[in-house]
Symmetry: C2
Subunit: 354 residues, 2 copies
Amino acid sequence: MKKRNRNGEIWDFEHEMPVVAGAGDVILGLDGGTTSTVCICMPIIPFSDSPSDPPPVLARAVAGCSNHNSVGEAAARETLEKVMADALLKSGSNRSAVRAVCLAVSGVNHPTDQQRILNWLRYIFPSHVGLYVQNDAVAALASGTMGKLHGCVLIAGTGTIAYGFTEDGREARAAGAGPILGDWGSGYGIAAQALTAVIKAHDGRGLETMLTSSILETLGLSSPDELIGWTYADPSWARIAALVPVVVSCAEAGDDVANRILYDSVHDLASSVKAVVQRLGLCGEDGKHSFPLVMVGGVLEANKRWDIGKEVIRCISKYYPGTIAIRPKVEPAVGAALLAWNFFMKESLRGNLS
Amino acid sequence: MKKRNRNGEIWDFEHEMPVVAGAGDVILGLDGGTTSTVCICMPIIPFSDSPSDPPPVLARAVAGCSNHNSVGEAAARETLEKVMADALLKSGSNRSAVRAVCLAVSGVNHPTDQQRILNWLRYIFPSHVGLYVQNDAVAALASGTMGKLHGCVLIAGTGTIAYGFTEDGREARAAGAGPILGDWGSGYGIAAQALTAVIKAHDGRGLETMLTSSILETLGLSSPDELIGWTYADPSWARIAALVPVVVSCAEAGDDVANRILYDSVHDLASSVKAVVQRLGLCGEDGKHSFPLVMVGGVLEANKRWDIGKEVIRCISKYYPGTIAIRPKVEPAVGAALLAWNFFMKESLRGNLS
């Protein structure tokens, strides 16, 4: 295979280390988030088989941020290319063994984003390799459904999004528009509302709250006035979202303001899921059909007493008794690899039938 | 006078152009905002007089942003120094004629901010010059009260803040903590909520609204999905706040969602004013004392039918019938100059008495 990319040195190992004979064909699954990027290399499974549980993983590689909105396109591409090369090298394989790649990245909000990334991937892999670009939420869904695109996924970490698919391939999303555009149930949203509550209490516009002393102590500040400088000193969303555990602790200790913020976030997260379920008709005409609801992200993980994920499930199940909540056992990058496997199988079958 | 600053060339004109004999002593007032910085040079008025209405202005100079949180300290300092030199040059004066300077800048939220700027100003002006550093809201108040620090000012432009003083010098503020920390009544807040409403309607989480077609048309976009890319492409708060007129037009055309956003902003702005009035007791014990409420900023200016400022005044007057609403006839930089004059007079009188 010719070197097709500018960063030729990334692929130098392909010449230096020939593939182990019989290593077989592989697929790559990538989960590219705002914090880190994970690439999974999986063996390709013979046509008749379903992926085993847990799916076989040949190698796993990790790199930094690959959200082009955050680090720019050139840096995002280099990160993605490096992490793929790293995973192939670790698995004793190389590009000639790759049959399919699924790249699930945050910041893919529009078909033009998808096409731009596909064009660039095609520059690295020859035309017989199946290439699939998805929003990272799709890989998160697949991580809970073993690669099947059916049901709804709710992600709530620093950001939040709900994404769903029907069995016949229709899709819908809600939220995922970032902190300026109303993702209030996210970790960032919860923490920003807690900071706002501290400022409001200090101003005399809001109730006194335990959040004041807890947040100031956590950040090593002596007055709510200093929160303004702290907040704008570094615009990273993850830095603000890191205050979520403080809010949960205050709520668990009985603080009304903190409890109100968490209940509002439960309501917001549930309303994203409901919007997706409703638009896709996942609950069927009688509202009682069963569908998987995959729950992913730090905000939805269980805490001592306040379990935001459990409250969201309770809220959704009231409307849709067929909700089957799933907390995935594998990471989203494995979901992406399973997706690549499924897409590739479908296309191969279609090829065989035609 | 020796050159005391690094940017010596800024003051070169002082050697090249001697002061016109008898030009007299002057004061400088500066209003440093996130968009621009204005410096006013006023003649100093004999001790017994009050400033005339309108106050006499010798020169006016304009420069760019001087908010150190936004452009960094070095750039902010250079802008402030240049705009002062420019105003003095235009008035045919120089630093030796300056008796007092009031620098009112946004981003002064803490006594340490104030002290840092004072230390640096002292490097430019000798010790007999009165130097005063204030939050820019204080100059806005003074622009409506002809330099008297009494009453409350509400600013609502891109950002919002309420700031008040009692006659015996106590002060209080509310809001002014920026978009992350709950300044929802601001121009930025109104526009961000409108953008959120478009996303929510598109997702199926909110009511259909006229804002969708109006905002997409204004921005030249074809789908709400494209709003995400547009929003995060440039994080400038002013760029988002520029959508306020679209929201007002939709509200005037009867759109419920737009009307709800504007009424919420009225409520938020009024609650900032109430917090300040309450904490300072500006309304007296019976709640009926009169006090000035100075209204400043684009959001509070009258529109065809929807007049946010008028609604805020109506709302405040219900609680505090002694509210005297003032829309200033002079700009905040003139307010800063009047403040410099007042501070300087007080210190001179104190000096004469002691």
